[in-house]
């Protein structure tokens, strides 16, 4: 195994050109998910019940609405990064590109839908 070209050694990016950024973002969003999903778990356990009235009233408050919005961003981001790794391991060539494009569209669409629902609940409530 060689040491690459001179300019390649200067850039220090390795053969994949990226990876550290992806790896770090996976960890940063993992910390966000750890805090936010545990918040959701505790919140579900602390609510008196999970009826429409109870949950919609709860989610319309500023702090739960903000935490839920952050949870959507962090979890969809983390899921998108994680699924990319699976796609890269099991799918080759042009199919890989097509699946990653689809993954991006679905991740952004899902997060946008979730954020819209939270905003609607927060602005319609109380």
């Amino acid at each position: 195994m060689g040491n690459g070209t001179s300019i390649g050694r200067v850039r220090g990016l390795g053969a994949a050109k990226a990876g550290t950024h992806h790896w770090l973002l996976q960890r940063f969003t993992a910390v966000g998910n750890l805090l936010l999903v545990l918040w959701l778990v505790v919140s579900i356990l602390l609510l008196p019940n999970l009826s429409f009235a109870t949950v919609s009233q709860w989610i319309s408050n500023p702090l739960p609405a903000t935490a839920m919005a952050l949870l959507i961003i962090s979890s969809f981001w983390h899921a998108r990064l994680g699924m990319q790794v699976m796609v890269e391991d099991y799918i080759d060539g042009a199919n890989r590109l097509a699946v990653i494009i689809a993954l991006n569209l679905i991740a952004f669409a899902g997060a946008a839908f979730g954020l819209f629902c939270v905003i609607r609940l927060a602005l319609a409530g109380a």
Partner: protein
């Protein structure tokens, strides 16, 4: 040049070649539960938020499915996937800082991570159903 002969490279031995150990199990479980959560967990989250934003009728439809036996199976599965992924993810944080690679410690936490996931899932449903 990068594309030349990429199909002709030697492959590393795959899963069925190795004698199974807890480290392999916890690694595969982390991927399975993570991708399961990405698909089923986020879909359930969006259904819940969408039903809340749509109104009581949509929420009643969701509640009907969620309290049926198959809905309970899916929700228990999602909660198990989360707690297992969280436990093995915390193990990854320790490994990321360069700790926990000694054979005994690595094996111990490979065994404890999935057990912790099951214990937390059971505790969550016990608290939820017994409140």
């Amino acid at each position: 040049m990068a594309q030349a002969g990429t199909g002709n490279r030697p492959l590393s031995p795959h899963l069925q070649i190795w004698k199974w150990g807890p480290h392999m199990l916890v690694s595969i479980l982390h991927r399975v539960t993570g991708n399961g959560l990405a698909i089923a967990g986020l879909a359930a989250l969006l259904w819940w938020l969408g039903a809340l934003a749509s109104g009581p009728e949509a929420y009643a439809v969701l509640s009907g499915h969620a309290s049926a036996w198959y809905g309970r199976v899916v929700l228990v599965g999602i909660s198990w996937a989360f707690f297992s992924h969280m436990a093995s993810g915390l193990r990854h944080f320790v490994l990321d800082i360069g700790a926990g690679y000694e054979l005994g410690a690595n094996r111990l936490w490979s065994i404890l991570s999935p057990i912790l996931g099951i214990v937390l899932t059971a505790a969550f449903w016990a608290l939820l159903l017994l409140r």
